[in-house]
Symmetry: C2
DNA sequence: ACCGGGGTGTTACCTCGGGTAACATCGTCG
DNA sequence: CGACGATGTTACCCGAGGTAACACCCCGGT
């Protein structure tokens, strides 16, 4: 048998471990789960990042395809936005641990190129960029705007999704609404509250809890 | 002399090293830069996270205070949004390496609590949450919406700012405009492009480059 | 003058995780 | 049968976080 099947098995094992222990699971643990020892893992994947990447690509396939499909859905714009959001949230809800893997920037990147977005998410950002470029009339700045927005939107959904996953303060549908509203410019549409300026009380308290 | 001054010196050294080598600089290196050895660092900061945290809080002070002040500025809402964005971007532009430190989630967090937002950013998210809560009328869901938006906006600016810092595709002012536009709901306001549905060409290509 | 405590600093060590070298084994193909 | 390519192993290296034990130095109290 060529290496492919065994590789799959190893990925399955790694998958289980990471489901169970989260990212940061050691190579030893993964090897043990697969019933083998480290060097084999390294033979197949080169280094830890290789393993992670392979694992990531596997799951990314699903999520990325889903998001892509959602982006292509022939819906009204607002509906499409909601659809994409829901797709993403559903995806990360299904496998939280794996999701963390997808979203964590390469942990062993010492070069300081601390990309806020992991590769998987960068792909999603590209999709969004293209979608925005092709669907929204942004005038002269379209390229710049589309890319900035692609990144921004991805980061927004990442952060918000992360928070939602951890605290589950509401149903998924509700969360989708909240995010869609934000993207949809409800910030601008909302009526101003009575208070004209910000209560200075907000500026006073330095650092109360949080840590 | 009490420990405070030495502590400051150590932080300065750590600061220099991280400016130079990025986060991920080893404790040994930092100690060497300070002209001392590891155990002293540990005496002062407990563990690596302690050092990082102290360093973070130091710089966060500035950025956080600046953002807070910007949020409190008695400007028109749109202007305030731009002002806050500009403040943040200016802050990260000034010290990229340190900024990476601020934004990187705790590196040694194996618990899988993979917070997409580092503590420093979480504080900013809280500020934004409060600002939104107190300045925008969101109806019944205000608490939920405000918090979701606080996180989301922070993540958005983080990701977009990160991208901007790396590629510098435009001036800061322009970037501020782009982000403000996004937050401001230009997505909704923009006219639809002629093409009703998404060109299927976008759905076809599976995974061309990116890696 | 002496001593003790709290600061400074040191060398040397432990542990654990990523990564590798060298060696043994089994099955298949020519 | 031999060789190759896969499987697998044990045993090791290295670097990084973290700690223990020891040494110095100054200063204030008795």
């Amino acid at each position: 048998m060529s290496r492919e099947p065994r590789r799959e098995q190893l990925l399955n094992a790694a998958d289980r471990v990471i489901q169970r222990e989260g990212p940061g699971a050691s190579m030893n643990t993964i090897a043990a789960e697969a019933g083998i020892t480290k060097p084999i893992l390294y033979r197949h994947f080169g280094d830890r990042n290789g393993l992670i990447r392979a694992l990531t690509e596997r799951h990314t396939g699903g999520l990325l395809a889903a998001v892509r499909a959602a982006l292509a859905e022939p819906l009204e714009r607002r509906d499409r936005v909601e659809h994409v959001l829901d797709t993403y949230l559903a995806g990360i809800e299904a496998r939280p641990q794996v999701y963390r893997l997808l979203t964590h920037p390469e942990p062993g990147d010492p070069s300081g190129a601390g990309n806020a977005l992991a590769p998987a998410l960068r792909q999603i950002a590209e999709e969004i960029t293209r979608a925005v470029q092709s669907q929204v009339d942004l005038g002269a700045d379209r390229d710049l705007l589309a890319e900035a927005w692609g990144r921004g939107i991805t980061g927004m959904v990442l952060a918000a999704g992360d928070w939602w996953l951890e605290t589950k303060p509401c149903s998924r549908t509700r969360m989708v609404q909240a995010l869609a509203d934000l993207l949809w410019g409800r910030l601008a549409a909302a009526a101003a509250l009575p208070t004209a300026a910000l209560p200075t009380a907000l500026v006073e308290p330095a650092a109360p809890a949080a840590d």
